[in-house]
């Protein structure tokens, strides 16, 4: 078995900030424009087929993944990263079909959160399928 690199004590904040600042204007805008209206919920089939639980609503997923990374300015623990991983890989399949009356591109934000996860070596558990 190849030796795996030891996991650093905390996620690399500098790298996360780099990702965030690259897409900053749009990301900030989307998070701000979101009126927290909840109209995106029914457009997500994950939401409707998993018992209409709030945590599957597109905006909820956006706010709690990329929104959280942005709000904490990249200063997040590994636990938070585990939660984000769960959100961006288990609760969204990036089918890009969510409806938002204000034209917010939620899948793009989720994809960005995925890239940040990957940069920190937080990866989906493929072997479960």
């Amino acid at each position: 078995m190849p030796e795996t690199e030891a996991k650093p004590e905390a996620p690399d904040r500098k790298e996360i900030l780099e990702f965030l600042s690259e897409h900053k204007t749009k990301m900030k805008l989307f998070l701000k424009v979101c009126a927290h209206c909840g109209l995106c919920a029914e457009s997500c089939f994950i939401y409707t087929t998993r018992g209409c639980k709030p945590e599957y609503m597109p905006s909820h997923k956006m706010i709690n993944s990329i929104g959280k990374l942005y709000k904490k300015k990249g200063k997040v623990s590994w636990e938070t990263f585990e939660e984000i991983k769960e959100i961006v890989w288990k609760r969204c399949v990036l089918c890009t079909r969510c409806y938002c009356p204000l034209g917010i591109d939620i899948p793009e934000m989720i994809a960005l959160a995925r890239s940040i996860c990957r940069s920190q070596n937080v990866l989906p558990d493929f072997d479960e399928e």
Binding site: S43, F45, T49, V93, C95, T96, R97, E129
Partner: protein
């Protein structure tokens, strides 16, 4: 990836009109991305059929369910409890998904509602282009990342036929000749020697590259008629 297009309503209608309770199963994978068989299309199809049947006084009831991916057994498990109540399943997944659904629920008739068209790329909203025929012998490493099987109407492997006219294909005047494109790209990369080697030919039927446009988007991409 996989691109599909819904069958004509009449055809779908005919195939399910003898059943009383139909479950339309959508797929959240490729066909959702190409606007052919996601949750929204499932609901739209059911509504369209329900209204049609009501107008014709036919008693068929349709319900909807969308799974994450129909091409994976794990995602079909959640249907086990749901399926019992229905006497027919209608799948909006690609051909692969429909077949797996039919395999799991082999006691029920499973009917496809979309035609699986191609493995392709996204060009615009509702506009897709075929890029791969899944021939199982990928040669685009030699041909500068351009697939001669899909793009060349004759699927030629060793350079263009004699029908090239000003860089256009003789089988389809609106399409550029794949081999002209291949030559230009390789020349740009200084790799022309890569097509000088002889490639074993395959026997493909003549087929031009398919473009899939979802019906609601036709007027966006076609010139005014």
């Amino acid at each position: 990836m996989v691109k599909g297009k819904r069958k004509p309503l009449k055809q779908i209608q005919d195939s399910i009109k003898d059943y009383n309770k139909v479950l339309t199963v959508g797929c959240g994978g490729c066909v959702s991305i190409c606007l052919a068989g996601g949750q929204k299309e499932v609901i739209a199809l059911n509504t369209e059929l329900n209204v049609t049947f009501k107008l014709e006084k036919i008693e068929t009831r349709l319900d909807a369910y969308t799974v994450e991916r129909q091409c994976n057994m794990n995602f079909l498990a959640e249907l086990d409890k749901v399926v019992e109540k229905y006497d027919c399943l209608m799948s909006m997944a690609c051909g692969a998904g429909v077949q797996l659904l039919a395999e799991r629920f082999h006691q029920k008739p499973v009917i496809p509602a979309i035609n699986t068209m191609a493995i392709g790329i996204d060009r615009g909203v509702g506009l897709y282009e075929e890029r791969c025929r899944a021939c199982g012998e990928c040669v685009i490493g030699f041909t500068g990342g351009i697939c001669p099987v899909t793009r060349c109407a004759k699927g030629l492997f060793n350079g263009p036929c004699g029908g090239v006219n000003n860089g256009q294909c003789e089988a389809n005047k609106d399409a550029p000749c794949a081999w002209v494109d291949i030559y230009n790209r390789l020349k740009e990369q200084n790799r022309l020697d890569s097509i000088l080697k002889f490639q074993e030919t395959m026997l493909w039927q003549n087929q031009t590259q398919r473009t899939i446009i979802q019906e609601p988007y036709e007027k966006r991409y076609y010139e005014k008629s």
